[in-house]
């Protein structure tokens, strides 16, 4: 009788602590994307540096590539930008930029100032392609495989840990 008496409050306490502990470790801003494992939504947009040329995901079939959503007005893009420049220099995986809801001239100036890691950037002036990709917080980065399927999504700046532990291993695996 006596051990039973305090075991119920103890069990409730342990369960509560477990829930709160898990809850503390989670980022409520990170909403799991339903797009992972789905084909990358189609678009055809003009390039930032060559407005007469266009780019579509179907042009990149057979390649593993990163689609990085950025903008010149985006503050946290500055955080991940040096890492992207480094990644581009290492020449492991092509990075394409989606200049999201940005003035193309401001975008070009921003890249001229901070370095341009992108094989090409395309301009999503009114944010429609962003909506198709479920973008809600710039920067966001999608890893797209040879068949054009989204395999990974990074919400917020790419951290060195995310790059080393998640993105690059997955890139190598998909490039096989």
């Amino acid at each position: 009788m006596t051990p039973f008496r305090w075991s119920i409050p103890l069990a409730i306490f342990v369960v509560l602590v477990a829930f709160l502990w898990i809850g503390l470790g989670r980022d409520p801003r990170e909403v799991p994307s339903p797009l992972i494992g789905k084909p990358a939504p189609a678009f055809r947009l003009g390039k930032l540096h060559a407005p007469n040329e266009t780019l579509a995901p179907s042009d990149l079939k057979g390649k593993v590539w990163l689609l990085n959503v950025w903008a010149s007005w985006c503050v946290s893009c500055r955080v991940e930008h040096p890492l992207l420049v480094q990644l581009a220099k290492a020449n492991i995986v092509p990075v394409y930029g989606l200049d999201y809801k940005d003035d193309p001239q401001a975008g070009r100036d921003w890249l001229a100032k901070n370095g341009d890691p992108y094989t090409a950037s395309i301009v999503d002036r009114d944010g429609r392609v962003g909506i198709d990709y479920g973008v809600y917080g710039v920067p966001e980065t999608f890893l797209i495989d040879k068949s054009g399927t989204i395999r990974y999504k990074q919400i917020g700046p790419i951290t060195p840990e995310a790059l080393q532990e998640k993105i690059l291993p997955l890139v190598r695996e998909l490039q096989q």
Partner: protein, 151 residues
């Protein structure tokens, strides 16, 4: 001539104000969108509905929802369109499915469990009280009996 101009202006003004008074054909659509937007979440400021939010993305999503509605999509189709892009999180009312069973039914399970526990405790207390009473009565009777035999 001046009178005529004044009269024409007056007429135009009356017509314009009358036109703006009439319910516009978009009123039904506006009402429908208003309702739909309160059922959708703004992903930037997560505790606000699409209708309440001033975020840039909310503007874009409202525009998208309006265009979909005008193109003849039903409310459910519009919701499905957004869920395909942003996940169930975009809905203020989460759908009932195995991963959300705990969310939907957990409170009822807790309430029923609580009532059950309460009932168990009450029953045990009643039993104990009854046992106490029986014991006290027995003690009282014994005292009386002792008293009677002693006298």
């Amino acid at each position: 001539m001046r009178n005529l101009t004044a009269a024409a202006l007056l007429l135009i003004a009356t017509l314009v104000s009358a036109a703006s008074m009439e319910p516009s054909p978009g009123a039904a659509l506006d009402a429908r969108l208003k309702k739909l937007e309160t059922e959708l979440r703004c992903l930037v400021c997560q505790n606000q509905t699409l209708a309440d939010s001033n975020a840039d993305l909310a503007d874009d999503l409202r525009r998208e929802v309006r265009e979909l509605a005008i193109s003849g999509k039903s409310d459910d189709e519009i919701k499905a369109y957004l869920v395909a892009r942003y996940g169930d999180f975009v809905l203020y009312n989460p759908p009932v499915k195995p991963t959300t069973w705990l969310l939907w039914f957990g409170p009822f399970v807790l309430a029923i469990g609580g009532v059950g526990l309460w009932w168990l405790i009450l029953r045990r207390r009643a039993k104990m009280a009854a046992a106490d009473t029986t014991a006290a009565q027995a003690r009282g009777r014994k005292l009386l009996e002792d008293d009677a035999s002693g006298a």
